[in-house]
Symmetry: D2
Subunit: 344 residues, 4 copies
């Protein structure tokens, strides 16, 4: 089969690889019908994720059709249309039992990382019963690919951890795909104001179309000052959706007393925490690797049209043109790519 | 009347001052029967709290007897025995209505800070109806002085923010009075393990007597390594009760995935936050200035003997010897002072 | 001044009464600009509320302009436009401190009940600082009259108590004004399905316009069976918004395991609770007299257009025609009245 | 093997039965080392549980040693000492994923009910990975048999659902084994007062020994009146641990405004709910079949000596004398039996 393979920092190739085989009783083999590329894939390609070794098929998102299942997989059968979670969850360990699937003792984020992933014709899914979800009748499967990672990440790490509530004020720092996913799902809770902050006018324009009440170009304006002007005391929830010290510090500048800073970004270095000011401000800071525990909720939200998951999709490619898809996704500033869909 | 007055960095004096008078309709004048000294008073004396200006009567803790009340004070009358909260709360503003009395628009921590405090024969209490609590019949008033600040601080900022639960593991970094108050009140929730970490063998000995299951002298042992050895994956709750970058970093080293770091310490400088490691650990960090919203709960806990508040008291002085009290409290390493009681 | 006075069961009159005067330090006198009639007023007129005695000016809803304030009222001054809460809250007692304003030791629902109410040219408001809310700049004051009682009742007793969440299923039994207020505010949380159940086709039509995804005429269809057909296992949240045993029993028939029945209706008699079936269904039942603790949230939601409060208003009258207003409101089945606005 | 078999209403027998065999991939066969009798077993014997048919081996509690496992069981191996949960949980279905194991689509309470149970030499456990728990090193296995059902039931249905908090007041109606299990685990949260109500002086005596602060013999005293006298406004939490309408009504008489009635009892008939009084009292009523989701917490609490689970054990028998054990347990009023342990 064809597969996109990581070949070491800076290198990737579309290669011919053997179709994966069942290995454990709980495995399923899934034929991929839609997959996509994540910012994390770009990090791997830069060499930022040493636990991902050369030779690995990338990709941890997608929908597909069950091809075969092991004897321990009782919830799915060949032919079933399924959503693949970016997080593999055994459903048995202490972390899974607490809903922290991201820390599953024999799973977590392994797809396209420590085992082969979804940017291929087929993928092997461990713990299939608790890592796949049935595609609801009538669903737009392409849009559902947004539920593998990006929507649960925005929702769990940003919105739920950020405790967004009706009438509250929210700032989201970073209007890339993950910030926009946070913006889309924050509206489940009817905040009065959602302020998007970014350095790209195009993305801020998208944010306004997606429901942002206010946008700030932080290269042209003093973002913290503008947030204070808009809110008086700062925001109730600040979501960090970039992953660098400067944006995490910005969140500390615009959070109201009693507020929550929810980190979504993937950070490569430490950041300053201004405890000399914040120790007495009754704030909460959260971090989280997505658990995908909200997938059932998001499926219901998508099916009842509370969120238009497909609105994040800007480009479409076939698998044999996946290198073009990477090119388009990688040069997002120029291409205005958000999420790119790859079909067989 | 006699009062302990801040005279600028490094200077304090026991002076004769006029008895305070009612100023606003909601005020009460309280005759102090028991007061005490807080670590924050030492910070003021070092010059660390510029909002406290020379000439200020110090002290924000105590119990006493109502001497007179303004026309707007309807819950108390002269002769009532009262507990004084370190936080003045109007009960009307948006923050008070949310239970964030620490950020009261016309109150918060003002006693012994921006208005004259309790280390005197009398004190004026603004917003008396919502800043004083009736002393329950049969209470040990001296022990109740621990409910002005130290017990609610340990309980709210450490235990409640830290989400201590039955069976959970807790580490408290710092076994000073505030760390010990956290230790005492953490036991309300029956954690399976409470590990106290400090540099003073005497305080660790007290901690064991107060219910710590394990103690670590962080000058003699690698505290993070020992916590990992005791718990396997780190603690569910880490309480920072010192207020310096090193101890806040230690908390980051010993927290389990999914755990909570609750900051109690007063910090004078920023600290490193290791987002490069913690971004994916599903942790929560909280800060809080005590709101004293838990005072009714703590009064019930003390009266039903769920906590021995008086156990924190090590020394007693009369007001005319308050300079000795400061001396004793300031040299705690030698005197083994925890809380010192000052009576008229 | 003119006022609508309860004259004993079955009798009411528009009378000339003296303008109210300040009585306590915390009082305010408010000139009414908009008031409205509540189903509870009809209950009083039927004689169902013996604590309301003849001679009482009715009405517990409205907006107005502060005319005068007592010396203890520090948050408002003459000329301020204010929203009047149906619940008077002292802000000081144990219940108020817990957010249970409905059980305030010296307040609660007293307006138009045990003290004179708002269906008059002026009203005296006790505990004004904590029972009035400033009208935001630019607000539609008529619409804001819906925030005195009906919207917080639907939101607190139905939506918050019912724990409505994104993607969840909700059934509301009763599409009268209070059921519709629940419907409007339930949408703050983006449930996937809101099923309205009533006996009046006109109200079900309104419900569909207000956002119900499904409606059931319980006189023509088996409501429980239809809910099961729509949901498979019953609803996550069932809101009782009628107040009779039959509708409370219906809620028990359509609730899913793990679900919540939130009672909003005012009941005059006991109901059967089918513990022989429900003891093992992990359900929650809640009751509540509105606390109006959510008023600040609702003000933000109205001002940010998350809810169109004015959509509940169907008729308008001047105060001298308030008897016609009662007539219209009382014959809602024919007049299709929801809320009627009365202006001076 | 020997097994206690239900032979239809009123009949049971100790019979010779074949040792159970593995049926599904996830099964384990466990050799029983300790089992016990539950009040539910008596209900079955009376014919109250028609879903339990004659020929069934009874018993849903116990500890034992794994004898063999199916290929899908990956967490246990022969020789492992295990605690058997009374609830079988697949870990995969929607209810299990929400922590509602009691409603597992292919499990729930099935042991000694719809499949053969633990009152035998061996038992087959379906979904073993998620229905067994490893016995911690050094545990008293006899005491651990209290964690199969009675302690999680008291804790989850009574204490957690009842929202017991530090300083709160609690009344437990019924001082049988399950009421006493509630009493023991309520103390994890340090309530200020726990009032036990029963008709048996012996059990009230045990309750005092187990930590009740007050006891009421409801046959000799007016229980509701006495609770009001003790608390002023009623209790914050009332636990129904009997299962008849009268005791459920008693809970309604002694609950404070804002309080929670947590039902633990198994009810055979409906009860009156006094909505005509309670509709405005802001109360919560909960029902629950134990989920055993708290088993990991309870294991930690037992191992750290926060609760003495073994204190519930009053009698011990060998399996060949299990009919005597039933006799002793059935005549608890005379024998003062709480829990009886049966060993091979």
């Amino acid at each position: 089969m064809k597969a996109l393979v990581y070949r070491g920092p800076g290198f990737k190739a579309l290669e011919e690889r053997p179709k994966p085989a069942l290995q454990a009783a709980g495995d399923a083999i899934v034929k991929i019908t839609k997959t996509t590329i994540c910012g994390t894939d770009l990090h791997i390609l830069k060499g930022d994720v040493p636990t991902c070794t050369p030779g690995r098929i990338l990709g941890h998102e997608g929908v597909g059709i069950v091809d075969s299942v092991g004897p321990g997989c009782t919830s799915f059968k060949p032919g079933d249309h399924v959503l693949i979670s970016c997080i593999s969850s055994c459903g048995k360990c202490d972390y899974c039992r607490r809903g922290m699937y991201s820390h599953c003792r024999s799973g977590g984020w392994i797809l396209g990382h420590t085992i082969d992933g979804t940017q291929a014709e087929y993928v092997r899914i461990p713990h299939a019963d608790t890592s796949l979800y049935p595609v609801p009748a009538g669903a737009d499967e392409e849009a559902l690919a947004m539920l593998s990672d990006i929507l649960p990440t925005g929702f769990e790490c940003g919105v739920l951890n950020g405790k967004v509530t009706p009438g509250a004020t929210v700032a989201i720092v970073g209007a890339g795909p993950i910030g926009l996913a946070t913006l889309l799902t924050a509206q489940f809770y009817s905040p009065s104001r959602i302020i998007m902050i970014d350095l790209d006018d195009g993305r801020l324009e998208v944010a306004r179309r997606f429901g942002a009440t206010d946008t700030i170009h932080s290269g042209k304006e003093d973002a913290a000052a503008k947030v204070m002007a808009l809110t008086g005391i700062g925001v109730d929830t600040a979501v960090e959706a970039v992953g660098i010290p400067a944006t995490f510090e910005l969140c500390q500048s615009l959070i109201a007393p009693g507020g929550t800073i929810a980190n979504v970004g993937v950070h490569g270095q430490k950041a300053d925490l201004h405890l000399e000011r914040l120790w007495s401000h009754n704030i909460t800071i959260t971090t989280r690797l997505v658990d995908t525990v909200s997938t059932p909720t998001l499926l219901k939200a998508v099916m009842s049209k509370k969120v238009d998951a497909g609105s994040l999709i800007t480009h479409r490619f076939t698998l044999d043109r996946i290198l073009d898809a990477y090119e388009t996704f990688g040069r997002a500033a120029e291409t205005h790519a958000l999420k790119v869909i790859i079909s067989p």
